[in-house]
């Protein structure tokens, strides 16, 4: 492998070149290659400084044409973008007439309590439940046989195992042969993984998949509609589209936003400079009145997306109306296994009745504003529970559980407040 990767003799012998070069990302030490690739995208302060100047320049042009008080709301549709924005303090680098709003981008936050209750019930009945780490702690609305989350069920003796992926679950379930359930939450990014596992028969006969996959574009359209209905507030003027969801569905999936709402969309990567590029591009499009979908994350996203992944998702899943926690049913926003793959279906095997629009009830704890936060109608700090009863250690609402929940991100890194103070001290903002 080393021979294939490295052409340079000095590198081949395991000695670094005296002068670092662009070829360093080809380094045979895998750890270094990954680190260099990350660093290239993360750290270029010179570019950051330039982009900031550029953003301020365009915001001035927009201020002149839209008026002094007009606030340009830019919405991100991905928990990871919100993480980048808060962790790197990007809100402190944009002018005060640009507001970054977090949208629906966290699958754990929007998984209805009903399904978690069903998983807890099965776990306590002796079924081995496989799930991701954040679902493990996700609180249900009401306790089932004394357990309010899968973590509490485990404390009561149930067999709940945390896995990184469906492959780990399949390997592990194959070893013990007992009835097992995989709580399959996620967005379009995990769907091709589940689809391949089903198509290639990777799942042992005792492991059943509970498909709770949600689709991003319908939720994006829904929240844009909701925000337009609020007459006293400024409308969303730009969208930072999720980069990794777009690797599968492609940049083309976002054209309806441009067509129906007439606002710019930038598919962005997840490093701070990527997000700043996206903000700059949105402001440029608004100032020049040149509205379109632009892919900034060119190193990973293609306009068409991955056609094979799209077709395997279509083969295995059908699009259904799906319930979003605290929000309700959004049409055509979920994926369910097709009847021909029912032998993998947990709903069928364990006899779980699926939720229906008539049975769905508001499923957030009293006082929790997770639904408003998810839809961009409120900031985490607007919630009366935020950092009082509801903390990352003791989450009350679902937005405080996952790494990508807006409340959890704000709780960890401080949304705007602290980073704004530091930026003021450094003289970056007025």
């Amino acid at each position: 492998m080393v021979n294939q990767l490295i052409n340079n003799q000095a590198c081949l012998n395991g000695v670094c070149l005296p002068q670092p070069s662009i070829d360093c990302w080809k380094c045979p030490v895998i750890k270094d290659r990954i680190n260099v690739a990350e660093l290239i995208f993360r750290r270029n302060i010179a570019i950051t400084r330039r982009l900031r100047e550029y953003i301020f320049k365009f915001s001035e042009i927009l201020r002149r044409s839209y008026g002094e008080d007009y606030v340009f709301k830019i919405m991100d549709f991905c928990g990871t973008h919100e993480w980048t924005i808060v962790h790197f303090g990007i809100r402190s680098l944009v002018p005060n007439n640009v507001e970054l709003v977090a949208g629906p981008g966290c699958p754990v936050c929007v998984t209805p309590s009903y399904y978690i209750e069903q998983a807890i019930k099965l776990a306590l009945e002796g079924v081995v439940v496989y799930t991701y780490g954040d679902v493990f702690r996700l609180p249900a609305l009401k306790p089932v046989n004394g357990a309010k989350s899968l973590a509490e069920a485990k404390a009561l003796g149930a067999d709940v195992r945390i896995v990184h992926s469906i492959v780990h679950a399949a390997i592990d379930a194959g070893k013990h042969g007992r009835d097992s359930l995989f709580v399959g939450i996620g967005f379009e990014t995990v769907a091709p993984g589940y689809a391949e596992a089903v198509l290639k028969n990777l799942l042992p006969s005792n492991l059943k998949l509970m498909s709770l996959v949600k689709l991003t574009p319908p939720a994006a359209f829904y929240s844009l509609d909701i925000l337009r209905e609020k007459p006293n507030d400024y409308p969303v003027m730009g969208v930072i589209a999720p980069g990794h969801v777009s690797t599968i569905i492609g940049g083309k999936a976002w054209t309806p936003i441009v067509e129906n709402y007439g606002i710019p969309v930038v598919v962005a990567g997840f490093e701070p400079n990527d997000v700043l590029m996206a903000i700059a591009e949105i402001l440029r499009q608004l100032a020049r009145n040149d509205i379109k979908v632009v892919i900034e994350y060119t190193r990973a996203v293609k306009w068409e997306g991955d056609v094979k992944a799209q077709s395997s998702i279509r083969t295995v899943f059908e699009t259904v109306d799906s319930a979003w926690r605290g929000i309700g049913y959004i049409p055509k926003s979920g994926l369910a296994l097709r009847p021909m793959f029912s032998k993998f279906d947990a709903f069928e095997y364990f006899g779980i009745k699926d939720l229906t629009p008539e049975e769905w009830r508001y499923d957030l704890p009293p006082g929790c504003k997770c639904a408003e936060v998810t839809l961009g109608k409120a900031k985490p700090t607007d919630c009366p529970l935020f950092m009082r009863e509801c903390t990352p250690d003791h989450p009350v609402g679902p937005c405080m559980v996952s790494l990508e929940g807006a409340c959890a991100v704000w709780a960890r890194f401080g949304g705007g407040g602290l980073s704004m103070e530091i930026a003021k001290d450094l003289g970056l903002v007025m």
Binding site: V36, E196, L202
Partner: protein, 117 residues
């Protein structure tokens, strides 16, 4: 849900659409190839999300990215009325610092991760 980590492909099991990847800790982990198998080869840098390969980082695009950023710096400097060559030099220097960190890490001088955070 876009949280993904870069990883290097160590081995491919084409029949089952599986790949073994290293996310930088030396442990081979099985993941599902979610995208077209033809796009994935041994040694590729890919993004892995919840055990699914969702995209391949285009290695040519890394060079292209660096060139684009230099070009961007030039454009932005021109718009702001600064010296474009100076802007490009600044950006180049930043990239060189990154390569320098990589070189030092390779020689065991520092832990790169420490330098990021």
């Amino acid at each position: 849900m876009c949280w993904a980590v870069p990883a290097v492909v160590l081995d491919i099991d084409e029949k089952n659409s599986l790949a073994y990847v290293d996310i930088g800790d030396g442990i081979p982990r099985p993941v599902v190839i979610g995208i077209a198998n033809e796009r994935i080869n041994k040694g590729d840098l890919v993004m892995v999300h919840a055990g699914v390969i969702i995209t391949k980082l285009d290695l040519e695009a890394i060079n292209q990215f660096i060139e684009e950023k230099k070009e961007l710096a030039r454009e932005l400097a021109l718009m702001a009325g600064d010296d474009p060559e100076k802007a490009v030099r600044e950006v180049e220097e930043e990239f060189n610092k990154i390569f320098e960190i990589a070189r030092r890490a390779r020689e065991g001088e520092v832990k790169v991760v420490k330098e990021i955070w």
